[in-house]
């Protein structure tokens, strides 16, 4: 899913300060934990408490869209509020505020989240990490389902680079070397011969910016 982190409350407060009547719109879609009604209500309470300290008074309305990146769902959910609000504060990933802007061209929309990556939610490990760059030319079948484009700091197609130390990346000792993960995984699958294949440079023209379903 898309991994997002709530912006600092000061920044959100600053962004919404020109407006009075604000719709906080959550998204029940792919973020984990979902930025649904609980996050919406909690953010409202925090902004009210912070606003009170700064003598700022807002009128919040609350809603959550099943999938805020969906123009139809966003339109039907937000439409009933449009006449009565000055702006939308979106809790979705970067696609959410842009969807609101597409659907309601006259309505200011402010992001409450910083979107970081398409990631794996390792619940037991308590972390989420970057795992897909949406490159448009998936190589996971060749690499034991570990993405070298995303998880190798150098994005190498024919790794490893030789710089890894004890399984960690030379650029970030916290980060696993993707090519070592690929080697171990192919070893388990009995597919080490895949490493003998040379992978030619990628054709970045394959990356689409628009797709018809």
């Amino acid at each position: 899913m898309i991994v997002t982190v709530l912006k600092p409350l000061d920044e959100i407060l600053e962004s919404i300060s020109p407006y009075k009547k604000i719709l906080i719109a959550g998204c029940d879609g792919c973020t984990q934990p979902p930025r649904g009604m609980r996050e919406v209500k909690t953010l409202k309470q925090l902004l009210e408490l912070a606003g009170k300290l700064k003598n700022k008074k807002f009128e919040f309305k609350l809603t959550s869209v099943v999938k805020q990146c969906d123009t139809v769902l966003t339109k039907s959910t937000i439409k009933p509020y449009v006449e009565d609000i000055d702006a939308v504060l979106s809790l979705a990933c970067g696609a959410g505020p842009q969807t609101v802007a597409e659907v309601f061209p006259d309505l200011p929309v402010i992001p409450a989240q910083n979107s970081h990556f398409v990631g794996i939610d390792d619940r037991e490990g308590g972390t989420m990490f970057d795992s897909c760059s949406s490159c448009g030319d998936c190589v996971l079948a060749l690499t034991g389902a570990v993405c070298p484009i995303t998880r190798c700091a150098k994005g190498l197609l024919n790794g490893a680079c030789g710089g890894a130390r004890e399984g960690k990346c030379e650029l970030d000792p916290e980060r696993d070397c993707a090519w070592e993960l690929i080697y171990k995984r192919l070893e388990r699958l009995g597919q080490l011969d895949r490493l003998k294949e040379f992978r030619p440079p990628r054709n970045y023209q394959k990356k689409a910016w628009k797709v018809a379903p």
């Binding site: 934990p33 925090l46 300290l53 959550s64």
Partner: protein
């Protein structure tokens, strides 16, 4: 976290009266009482004790003292409050099976009764029940938790056997055979499937594998497995879950009433009902009001914020330590929930107004001390600047 100095143990074996029968040791659910074979004494390891009171209720020599809800304080309470009620029916309820007496009418068919709420009915001895009848009580209704739900494992089953034996004896003496009745009730999660977004949070956090994510139709709960800790309810991102008798709206309604009663500095406490045993008819501080929850896992960020919005100067969460948690590891998760909301409050300069204390009833006054320290901190930062 507030560090609290060790104080007087809440349970004590008086060696002068102890007859070494070891009934206490055989009934203790936590193996806290053992026989010292060198000098033949019964030894209580207070660090293992969870203060259920079963040992004290079963001791034939009355050699075990407990500072909470002992025989004398329960009888004194009964004598004091009985004249306030027209009824001569007593309802004794484990607070784990219901937070208040609102269900009693439905469960027992009585509307006027003398109420008595205790942490585990296992601490009520046969002798105490007879003494209550001798005080003019004509009928006793006992509400216990379901047997496999009893926080102290043996309290509910033991009480069932006691009631059966006592009724048999009382009927031989000419009393009605239902002089003492007992029912069991446990509070469980409630699901609104229409609100569920099938995110799987509850499946991940439930310590008992009660929720299952169906391929179609969202979540379903195995209510026999649910132990009513409320953690899933507090974390559900879509408000699709609620907890019987500790509903979100019920707590929200209670908050402003309690805060209005207080004098500044107003300290609102959310406490696990197993971490603190408040005394019967104890003195209530004008600065502190508490909301009892079935576990600190039921503490919701929105309630903490609502308390601050409604004029509380400080909010404190009182939980059991991870080792003492009556639910499997839920108090540790509750600490994370509190830490997260504290981090957000810090961003707006209100972080210090949320406190977390981990206490146990096994020593006298631990919770009071933790709240006192928190209150002093709130007094130094003042009551101005918010509310």
């Amino acid at each position: 976290m507030t560090q609290v100095a060790e104080a007087k143990p809440a349970v004590n074996i008086n060696d002068d009266y102890c007859s070494r029968c070891s009934i206490c040791g055989s009934l203790c659910p936590y193996d806290a009482i053992t026989r010292d074979h060198e000098n033949d004494k019964m030894i209580l390891d207070i660090e293992k004790c969870q203060v259920c009171g079963i040992c004290a209720s079963a001791c034939p020599a009355r050699a075990i003292d407990t500072i909470y809800y002992d025989r004398d304080s329960l009888l004194n309470y009964l004598r004091k409050v009985k004249p306030n009620y027209k009824s001569d029916t007593l309802v004794v309820m484990c607070k784990g099976s219901a937070p208040d007496f609102s269900q009693v009418g439905k469960l027992f068919g009585v509307n006027d009764f003398v109420p008595l709420s205790v942490p585990c009915v296992g601490r009520i001895s046969e002798e105490l029940l007879l003494a209550m009848l001798a005080e003019g009580i004509k009928k006793i209704d006992i509400l216990a938790c379901d047997e496999d739900y009893c926080r102290f494992h043996r309290g509910s089953p033991l009480t069932g056997r006691r009631v059966m034996a006592l009724n048999y004896m009382l009927s031989q003496l000419g009393y009605g055979k239902d002089t003492i009745t007992m029912k069991r009730n446990s509070l469980k999660v409630k699901v609104d499937k229409d609100l569920c977004i099938a995110c799987g949070n509850c499946v991940f956090y439930c310590p008992y594998d009660a929720p299952k994510l169906e391929s179609e139709g969202g979540i379903s709960f195995d209510l026999d497995a649910c132990r009513g800790c409320g953690l899933c309810v507090s974390l559900c991102p879509a408000f699709a879950l609620d907890l019987e008798n500790w509903e979100r709206d019920k707590i929200s309604d209670l908050l402003p009433k309690l805060i209005a009663e207080m004098k500044p500095p107003k300290i609102l406490v959310f406490r696990c009902q197993w971490a603190v045993y408040p005394p019967l008819n104890g003195d209530v501080s004008p600065n502190v009001r508490a909301i009892e929850l079935p576990c600190s896992g039921r503490v919701e960020a929105i309630h903490v914020l609502e308390a601050l919005q409604n004029g509380a100067d400080g909010v404190m969460v009182i939980a059991c330590s991870e080792d003492d948690c009556k639910q499997e590891g839920v108090s540790a998760k509750a600490e994370h929930v509190v830490a997260k909301i504290k981090g957000q409050l810090e961003q707006i300069g209100l972080g210090e107004r949320l406190g977390f204390g981990s206490v146990s009833p096994r020593y006298e006054g631990q919770a009071e001390e933790a709240i006192k320290q928190f209150r002093q901190k709130i007094e130094t930062i003042g009551t101005k600047g918010k509310s």
